[in-house]
Symmetry: C2
């Protein structure tokens, strides 16, 4: 089976089945996407999965699963892989599957236990999803945040971006938006959406999403045109937690969706952090619960976050991608960086790229641990 | 040696030596207070102590200790035990030593390691120091607190007092004062002072001290008339931590004296708690440090504190003092309390005490675990 057949099948699956379906995940693990998709599209019977993956045993449960399967088959009639991929490409959206160079390795941990793995990711933007996530942290919180929460989210995210740490968050108003805007002004960010990447939800963030796409990425599991439903946000939250070595909850009430992201981070054994706030504020009660009952680390600034996740996130020692594996333009930029430090304009002139492109590539090289910021601009690591 | 000879000697020692002197503590442990005081008063040589207790070895260190000893001997000439105790009694101040019924057993832990035990405690007020401290918590924080800190200290202390938990704190402006005032309005409090108990320091708290003395106690290691020096506050802080099963730091900057109290609590293996605040407030930075680096429990209200120290503090199961050991008026009040609940006025009428006295005694009986508050007033435990 070629990469293309697998990717096409996975793209189609995102168009008929909801993300994170345990049963479908088990089928994919057992039979591969092409075979599963062929069965769905043909209206054939579902391929067997090991019974312990089946969820609930018994004839009644089996009937529920079959109804689900028939729903997917019915929807499959409307889906054409080539059309879906070319329309997505026209909207600037690519499709990334396990095994692709841009696939973030951390997502594999969603497969243990049960297979809540994502079938594939839709990605929009100039950034490289894998590189961006290497040295990243999730900054999440309530939509209806206070000015205190928005201030802290912005301050912390800006400082993280200054330290070449990529901020990963949802696309909502409140903490998500404050974190993205601030981080974007000093670096790249990753927006994880619960809808199609061409659906600007919420509308008021359309401009911000377009800005972020110029250096960072938008990413999601839903296909072109998919509008978000309540359930999608909860399923999306597991991606935010899984893409990063750690999650910071900046401000959250006792029933905030951010606590759902926090629980995914805890399940995935990622670093869980919370920002304290006034005990008189109901909007910090969720954070205080994380500190008190969930053993979350208390973080008050970017330095506290860095201390919790380690200077390189959970990167193995040394650069993950060596310069030998770099794209030609990345290698040119890297070649123009000295050990003692070079200004970005000098680097851009030396490698023949524009300043914007050079800055973007420097950010990716930093995420890979090859270069780092210094007073003079950028320098080689070690 | 009689109790009186020991107590008289210890009272005199508080008048010549600073509290918490390790060398003097070692001498007291080895030779007893009467012998040590006799040597000081006679200008004799200091009695020998086991060399590991000696602090620093070598002739130079020995000379430092001897200078200290000679200073105490010189001051002893001005000290007359009978006069000191009768003048104190005239000011409503009694002297309590180890072995007395009112001696708080938790203070023994100050003796390990090294002997930072207190020589004896001056006590002023209608409360029983030991009973009050049984079910208590220290509520401490900055003098120059914010309105947020004062608000939280008051709210938490009032709720603790409502749950028959005694608040222990210093006598300073800021968090100390806010905690005492609020707790006093619903129960009894213990003020730990770094000066003589007749010295109202700070002056502005003279009225509050007088109020507290009516149901609670003021306690300290310094004799009548002693004014406080900077060092005294730090030495006093170990008493605040030692008298209680746990310490809550409500609001503290990075260099607040409250962190000194916190470090004593940690050393004594008491429960250490901190109240979070805005990360934008320098006045909460000390609390966040305790949460982040000292593993302090995050507490936002009295219920959080109760959960941390346990419903009865670190009391052994069941009442510590049985009714057989009670003073006659306490036994009379206890006899008037029913198992299903009795109002305080009914109890007062039945036992023939005034309402104020009855309320005070009920508080002590509650601290001993014999009675508890209930919707109808007070009822017997079990």
């Amino acid at each position: 089976m070629t990469r293309d057949a697998d990717a096409r099948a996975r793209a189609c699956l995102t168009a008929v089945a909801p993300p994170g379906d345990l049963w479908l995940g088990a089928m994919l693990a057992e039979h591969g996407a092409a075979e599963v998709w062929a069965a769905i599209a043909a209206g054939a019977a579902p391929p067997a999965v090991p019974c312990e993956e089946d969820g609930r045993p018994g004839p009644q449960a089996r009937e529920t699963l079959l109804r689900r399967w028939r729903r997917w088959s019915a929807a499959a009639a409307q889906v054409d892989a080539e059309q879906l991929l070319s329309a997505s490409a026209a909207a600037g959206i690519r499709f990334v599957v396990p095994g692709d160079p841009e696939w973030p390795g951390r997502l594999e941990e969603l497969g243990m236990p049960g297979s809540r793995r994502t079938y594939g990711l839709w990605v929009r933007g100039a950034g490289d999803l894998r590189n961006l996530c290497l040295r990243s942290v999730a900054v999440v919180g309530a939509r209806a945040c206070t000015s205190y929460g928005a201030h802290v989210a912005a301050e912390m995210s800006y400082e993280l971006a200054e330290r070449s740490v990529v901020v990963v968050s949802g696309g909502a108003y409140g903490i998500d938006g404050a974190a993205h805007r601030a981080a974007h002004s000093a670096g790249s960010t990753v927006v994880v959406l619960a809808c199609g990447l061409d659906v600007d939800y919420p509308r008021g963030h359309a401009g911000m999403f377009a800005d972020i796409a110029r250096t960072g990425v938008l990413v999601g599991e839903r296909p072109l045109g998919a509008t978000p439903h309540a359930r999608d946000f909860l399923v999306r939250n597991r991606l935010i937690a899984a893409l990063t070595p750690g999650t910071v909850v900046v401000e959250a009430g006792r029933r905030s969706g951010a606590l759902n992201t926090a629980s995914h981070a805890a399940e995935l054994h990622r670093v869980l952090m919370a920002v304290p706030g006034p005990v008189t504020s109901a909007m910090s009660a969720g954070c205080h619960m994380l500190l008190r009952d969930w053993n979350a680390g208390c973080v008050t600034c970017a330095d506290d976050v860095m201390a919790q996740i380690g200077p390189m996130g959970d990167l193995p020692e040394g650069p993950v991608r060596t310069s030998a594996a770099l794209a030609p333009e990345h290698a040119r930029v890297l070649g123009a960086v000295s050990g003692s430090g070079t200004g970005p304009a000098v680097i851009a002139a030396a490698c023949g790229e524009g300043l914007d492109t050079t800055m973007r590539i420097l950010g990716m090289l930093a995420a890979s641990g090859l270069v780092e910021r210094c007073p003079a601009g950028w320098r080689l690591v070690r």
